[in-house]
Structures are given as structure tokens and as C-alpha cells.
Point group: none
Chain length 401, copies 2
């Protein structure tokens, strides 16, 4: 069964509006046996009311047991099989900083890192250097010239930058130089096909010069690159669902991904409350709003259970303002789990609530992982969520007579 093919044939234009509120890394774990997860521990009267009135369930972003990054996690939420639609991290990052990535450009996510005298990586994030320092170093690297290739180095945030290689026939099947652990040397970029050999040469030359330029810097005296890739051709949300969509997101990657899917991405708001204001302002112009809340994931990754609880509660307090807009379908979920106890993304299924006047009620009393096990939506692939939202918004025609 090809879901995209079916939905393409059935979608209808209506005035109904869908809000997909993604609390990044929402799913969690207890910190002691039998204890509550972050979401269960949080005081969330508004989310609980939404869940009680509506219905809940659990989403699998990729497949059971598999942990995913935020890129694949979001693609899945938007209905794109993340194992089929592969978007490199470099592409996402470069789109997120408004870099005009052209067809054929090969982009990579870069980290400034620290290496010792032998070249061994001692800190993959160079002590998380400040924005100003990262920007200064990125500008320094922009001086590098690689024969036959136009090079773009753009600072993203802190220790993160994007490198883009523009040239003739550059393949993008290149392995990461980031070893993903400390105590080892950066890897050499390896081509996985003939077309990527010249790309590897260019990358190798860039790295050689970068090492030279950064050698007297501290703590950021080297670079690591990963997620090489070209801008992929993805069907847009308008193609698939006939939706006029808008992304209310602050972080670059999510803004970049949204653009890739053809969403309108307004100027970024400064924080959560302003995001809600922005959605209110644009409410009449779109029929699908992707609303992204990042800090649930960040606190989870920091291993900060209480911090994640607070971030969930902060989000909860915005719900009345969002409900005032009276969306026909309001979904709250995450792109993956990020339990503070693991200080990392995880494979555990993600709680989801769907609130709409067309919901069939279940016995859910609140929004939480344990409660969602018995929710009316059951457990299902995240790629099926958009079709469900469309159905509840009465935006899908009948299949067959």
C-alpha cells in the first residue's frame, strides 16, 4: 500500500485547520523503578484536558527498537518514510540558516572540536564555545581555497557550522570524518562511489588547510564533518496533502526541514510565547501549522529530568492560548523520545494526543506514557499520523464508493 498515492487522490480543500505541536524528544522514562516519566511527573492540566476530551496513543518514528535523530523523526511525523527520504544533516543545517543550497551542492554539518598534540579528539564540541567565537573561526575558515570547488563556511550556533562544496559532478556518498567518540583521531572521508572521489579530495584538502589555520586556536583547534549530502527532491505538503502549511519553529534545522517540505517559514520568534503570537497572526493564512518546541529535548539530552518536567509545564501553560485559536485538529506529540535518564534520544514510542470534535472517545484520563498504552489510537507508525489528522479535519474524500 502506497500511503502517499492514496492521500494524494483523496485530499480535499476545506477551511478546517490542523495544528501539529511537536515537543521535541517528548517521550521519557522514570528515573526509579515504577516512577513517573517526565511527562507523567509534570503538572499539565491543559494537556490532560485535551487528552481526556480527545484520544491518545503511541507513535513509532522509524521502527521498534530504533532510535532516530530529529530530522528523520520529523520527516516521519510529516508522513515521509525516513528510511526512504534521506536528508543529510548538512542539508538540514544549511537550509536552517537560510543558505541558498543549489542542486548539486554537497553540504556537511561541521563541529569545531579539540584535538591533542597527536591529533586525537579530546572534545567533539570544543567545550561548546560561544557563538561569537564560533562565528570568528568560521569566518577564518572561509579563507580556505580548494581548487575546482567553491567553498562556503557558515556559522550555525556555538561550535556548529555548515560547509558547502559547490562544483561540477560532486558525489555525496562520503563517510563522516566525525568519529562520534573521543580518544580517536578524526576519520578520513571515504567515497562510497566513483562520483564521490573528487568530493573526498576536495574535503581532504579543506580539512588539511583547516587544521593548519586552527592549529594555534584553543580549545577549537580542529573540525569534524558529518552528514554529507545534496538537497533531495521531496514532495511538498501541498503535493501530498493539499495543505497550505506554516512552520512556527525557532531552531535552524526544523526551519530548514520545513522549507524543504514547502512550508511557509516566517521570521523566527524569540521564544515560546512569541511563537504562539506568531501563529495567531498567521492563523487565517494557512490551514496547517507545525509548531515546534525544542527545549524538552535539550533538557532531556542534558539528563535534566526536572528541567524537562519544567519545559513540559511551560508548554502546557501555552495551551489555552493555542486552543483559543480553535483549531479543528490539535495534535501534541514528539519526534522521538529523549529520556533524561538516558541523556539521549531513545527508541521508546512517543505519546501522542489528538483532540478534535470528530474524535471517538477512549478511556484516557490524562496525557502520559502509561495512559497512552490504553489510548484509542493504539501504537502506530508516525508516518500515518498526518493521514489521521487529515481524516479528523474532514480533509479526505471517501476511498471508493
Amino acid at each position: 500500500m502506497n500511503l502517499h498515492e492514496i492521500i494524494r487522490k483523496l485530499h480535499l480543500r476545506t477551511d478546517s485547520k490542523i495544528v501539529l505541536l511537536v515537543a521535541d524528544g517528548l517521550g521519557g522514562l522514570p528515573t526509579w523503578p515504577g516512577g513517573p516519566t517526565e511527562l507523567e511527573a509534570a503538572n499539565t492540566p491543559h494537556l490532560d484536558a485535551l487528552a481526556k476530551e480527545g484520544t491518545t496513543g503511541l507513535l513509532h518514528p522509524v521502527t521498534r527498537g530504533v532510535t532516530c535523530g530529529s530530522g528523520p523523526g520529523h520527516l516521519s511525523l510529516f508522513g515521509y518514510d525516513p528510511t526512504e527520504y534521506l536528508v543529510g544533516r548538512g542539508v538540514l543545517s544549511s537550509l536552517g540558516i537560510d543558505f541558498d543550497l543549489q542542486a548539486g551542492d554537497v553540504a556537511a554539518r561541521g563541529n569545531f572540536c579539540s584535538v591533542d598534540e597527536s591529533g586525537t579528539v579530546t572534545d567533539r564540541r570544543a567545550g561548546r564555545i560561544a557563538d561569537a567565537e564560533g562565528r570568528r573561526l568560521a569566518e577564518k575558515l572561509q579563507a580556505i581555497e580548494v581548487p575546482g570547488v567553491e567553498l562556503f563556511i557558515r556559522h550555525v550556533k556555538q561550535y556548529r557550522f555548515v560547509s558547502v562544496f559547490r562544483g561540477e559532478d560532486l558525489g555525496d556518498n562520503v563517510s563522516d570524518t566525525d568519529p562520534r567518540s573521543t580518544g580517536v583521531r578524526p576519520r578520513d572521508p571515504e567515497p562510497a562511489d566513483d562520483a564521490s572521489e573528487s568530493t573526498c579530495k576536495a574535503i581532504g584538502e579543506f580539512i588539511r588547510q583547516a587544521r593548519e589555520i586552527l592549529k594555534d586556536e584553543s580549545p577549537a583547534n580542529m573540525v569534524l564533518l558529518r552528514g554529507f549530502g545534496r538537497r533531495p527532491e521531496l514532495p511538498t505538503l501541498r503535493d501530498l496533502y493539499g495543505l497550505d502549511s506554516c512552520a512556527i519553529a525557532i531552531y535552524p534545522m526544523y526551519r530548514g526541514l520545513s522549507r524543504l517540505l514547502g512550508m511557509h517559514v516566517p521570521e523566527k520568534a524569540e521564544k515560546l510565547g512569541a511563537q504562539v503570537g506568531q501563529m495567531r497572526q498567521l492563523w487565517n493564512e494557512h490551514d496547517f501549522f507545525f509548531f515546534h518546541h525544542k527545549s524538552t529535548d535539550s533538557s532531556g539530552e542534558d539528563g535534566d529530568f526536572d528541567g524537562k518536567v519544567r519545559e513540559i509545564e511551560t508548554l502546557d501553560r501555552q495551551l489555552p492560548a493555542i486552543r483559543e485559536l480553535d483549531p479543528d485538529v490539535l495534535i501534541v506529540t514528539g519526534d522521538h523520545s529523549t529520556p533524561a535518564s538516558l541523556a539521549n534520544h531513545s527508541w521508546h514510542p512517543v505519546p501522542v494526543l489528538l483532540n478534535s470534535s470528530t474524535c471517538r472517545p477512549d478511556r484516557t484520563l490524562c496525557f502520559g506514557e502509561r495512559e497512552a498504552i490504553g489510548g484509542g489510537l493504539g501504537q502506530f507508525p508516525a508516518t500515518e499520523l498526518m493521514a489521521l489528522a487529515m481524516g479528523h479535519a474532514l480533509k479526505l474524500d471517501k476511498f471508493g464508493a
Copy 2:
């Protein structure tokens, strides 16, 4: 989505250990309306504790409504779609007795059976004749000569033997001669393609001579053949999961299947307690242990509800010794259901429990079919269990950034 492709890219080598304990035919049914299943009736304090601490669910070995044999049931548990990876029963049995099956050999599982004067099957297992008798008869059959084909008859256990046909271009699309019921005559082997016509001729000749040789024996005066097949090429557990695996199994078929998947198969232990001892001895040498308990299925097939309850309780008493080994992930499940009330395998989903420090708790209080309906794992294809085990063992890298 190709699960094998994903897992192949993501698996990591770590020190964590996984135990997959398969109680064959574990799932059951009540014998009176509203009564307990065998697992629910059994007194299983250790399994209940594992379930309460961990999480439970229900597995579908093939697809809803479809009953499977132990071969496909196990392939599914190990993550191989049993409708894609077809392994004949004969192949499994011949590998299980260490027969050196060569590429092109066509193997079949054989039963000594009883037929009456008209040739009608009266007992498909010839009264479950003893090992010595089965061995004597198998040796007698070895005298058969079939033109153009080298024939191997090997006793397995009791009334069971393996027949292997070795020759040029023997197809293996041959229908069973075992009618799977009594009161009818054995069927003629039928070819499903041209290449299998010569195989059918050879089999027909073998059966003709076997009938002649056995005609004065009692009760085993005829043979039934089923599960014709050639040795397939399967990816190993090391290929797929990077696991160094070991099979603690007593029965030939399970040992054969394990070998086919590249598992280390130590000499067989005599009984359940010895199996645990064997796992303890080999604990440091492997990171995945498949532990097989057969008698839950045997008693279910005999229609012996109380016997199956006892076999489950016997297994439960071994759990403390297994837990002492401190596996990072301990899974207890079955390869299919075998309700005593049906005296046969069935299609009902199989209860599964997964215990690991990385479990998200659910509200399960004990291990049983009804309780598993509300378990945190939900209902899912058995083919996804291994990926889940790998995730919980922290043996899978993140998918995408």
C-alpha cells in the same frame, strides 16, 4: 522499509547481553469460558516479577489468523520474515542431526506411521515408537536404491527420520505425502514446477520400496514425508545484528535452524537445568543466547492442559538461575501458540515479556495473555522483536541526525 538494511547499518558491538528464552508454543486458551489460559493458570512468581518490572505485549509470528510451524515461528522471532525466508522442515531436521546437507540436496521430514490393510493412515506417528525401533527401521530403509539418486535415511527421534535425495537438478517444489490427518491414504508427491518432476519420480520410487520393506512391521508399517526443500542461503545473526550468538537447545530442529543462522550450537544438554548450566558456562563467550524450552509445546499438542501448566512452572523455577547471570535484556516468549484445548499450534498472538533496565514501565502486574493485551509493547510482528532487543541492549546507533 527494509528492516534488515536498517539494522545492518546501525548495530554496535557492546558488552551487553541478550537472552531470548523461547517456551515453544507458549500461548494458550482457556478450557472453559472465561477460564485461565495455561500461562495464566500456572504459578509463575518469577515470570510475573519479570513482567511487572519490565514490559509485556503480544507477538504475531506471521500475520493475524495464520498458524505457523516452529520453523517459521522461530525465523520470525529472529527477525526473518518467514514468508520470504522459506526453510523446509526437512532441511531443518537434517541440519539438526548434523547431516552435511549439500547445495542441491532435497531433504524431507519423515514420519513412520501406521496404515491399515486398505492403506489408510491410522496413526501418523505409529504409536510414537521408541528410539531404538525408529533407528532400526531407518537403517532398514537405507537399503533402498533409487536410480539416478543417492539416498540418505537418517533417524532423528522416536518415529521421526530425515530423507535426503541427492542428484542432478532436483527441484524442491514437491507437495507433502503426509495428509496431516488419519482416515485417509498418504498423498502422492506432486511437482509444482518442471524441475521437480524428476524429484517426484525418485520420491515415488522410494515410497514404493519403503511400503514393501515395512509391510510386515508393526505398528510402523509405512512412511509419510513432508517439508521438501533445499538448504537456503540465509544472512546470519552476525551479518544482521553483529551478534555473537549461541543456541541452548535440545531438539534437533531448533539446533539445525540455529546453525543455519550461524549460531554456535554447543553439545546438547540433557534437560532444562543442564541447559541453564550450559548457558552459565558459555556466558562470557557470546552476547546473544537463544534458549529453547520444548515441552510447553509438546504438552499443548497432546491436549494436556495440566501438563502444559506444569511445564511452564518448571520453566519458571529456572528463572532465578538465569537472572543470576544478569542479562541486560531478558525476553520470554513463544514461537507460536499451542493451546491444549486445540491440541495443535494456533494463530493466537504470543505473549512476550521484555525485562531490561531500559524498559519504560507499563501497568502489567503478571505474565499472561489477558495482562499482555494492556502491556506497553502492544501487539506487533514477531519479526520486530530482535530490533527491540537490540535497542534495549543499547546495541543500535541512532538513525540519522
